[in-house]
Symmetry: C2
Subunit: 169 residues, 2 copies
């Protein structure tokens, strides 16, 4: 354990990584929103992250081994951020946080439907989602015989809520 | 959704609750350390929480409905802090955070053994632990036929590591 940690407790160390409020939101947008460019993460942020905070947190996440950055072959100036096994392993935590938040906090319907679907799907759905993320970000073989993908199912749930809201507006 | 939230996403709202680093550590000490007095939470903190931060976070947690405070019948000046169903519902998140931290971060053996035991026990152990916490904090009937308690099992694991460390020192 390095001396700059408050303690060697795994919950404390995890909070030292996520405790700044923005870090887990960036990872959420990469995992569920499939965003991998700086610009997508900046402009698509529901919470309005600022450019300098985003740049700082992406750098920290790379230093921690939770993201890697590669050049985008189609745009010379752009980088593509990829998840690693370490950050893909956050899916169950995201699922539990989303389920707990949906139960106890004043969530909006369109932004909580994915959390509810993920809770209903349980650990088998989380495992499938992690396999899909590994295929996308780590280049492993995609899971076979699982169509549609978990992200597509979550996205369909979100779209259905948005359509319903538009119709009742 | 109130306007002072960054968004109505359940993960964001959960992070607005936990994103200050100390809040979840206080709840961890209440859940796993069975601490319910201010003084125990202050002096027992592995991370050295300060008195004013502890007082502030306890107040916030009560306002959120995650803690209640009662007078201690044995010490007139002391209050007893109790968990609520909302905070007991964090056990699976704590278990996943602890498991993820133990896998990826520089944890110490004695402070991670409980996370490892909790991961091995899986959801049935978390459910049993939540039942025990409900009995202690909400006054519900204790779970029957489950001896030793989950906290006692976790504590025994911690003690075993400490004894081993003392012997090899």
């Amino acid at each position: 354990m390095r001396d700059d940690h408050r303690s060697g407790c795994p919950i404390n160390l995890s909070l030292e990584v996520f405790g700044d409020k923005w870090t887990l939101l960036i990872l959420r947008d990469m995992i569920f929103g499939n965003r991998c460019h700086f610009r997508e993460l900046l402009l698509g942020s529901q919470e309005g992250i600022s450019s300098n905070i985003l740049a700082d947190r992406l750098k920290s996440l790379m230093a921690l081994g939770m993201l890697t950055r590669a050049d985008d072959p189609t745009h010379k100036q752009k980088g593509i951020y990829c998840l690693t096994e370490m950050s893909i392993g956050l899916v169950p935590i995201m699922a539990h946080l989303g389920a707990w938040g949906s139960k106890w906090l004043p969530v909006s319907e369109e932004l909580s439907i994915r959390a509810i679907l993920l809770e209903d799907g349980g650990p088998p759905m989380w495992e499938q989602f992690m396999s899909e993320l590994r295929a996308e970000h780590l280049g492993t073989s995609p899971p076979v015989g699982q169509v549609p993908s978990v992200r597509a199912k979550l996205q369909a749930g979100y779209q259905a809520v948005m359509v319903k809201k538009a119709q009742s507006a």
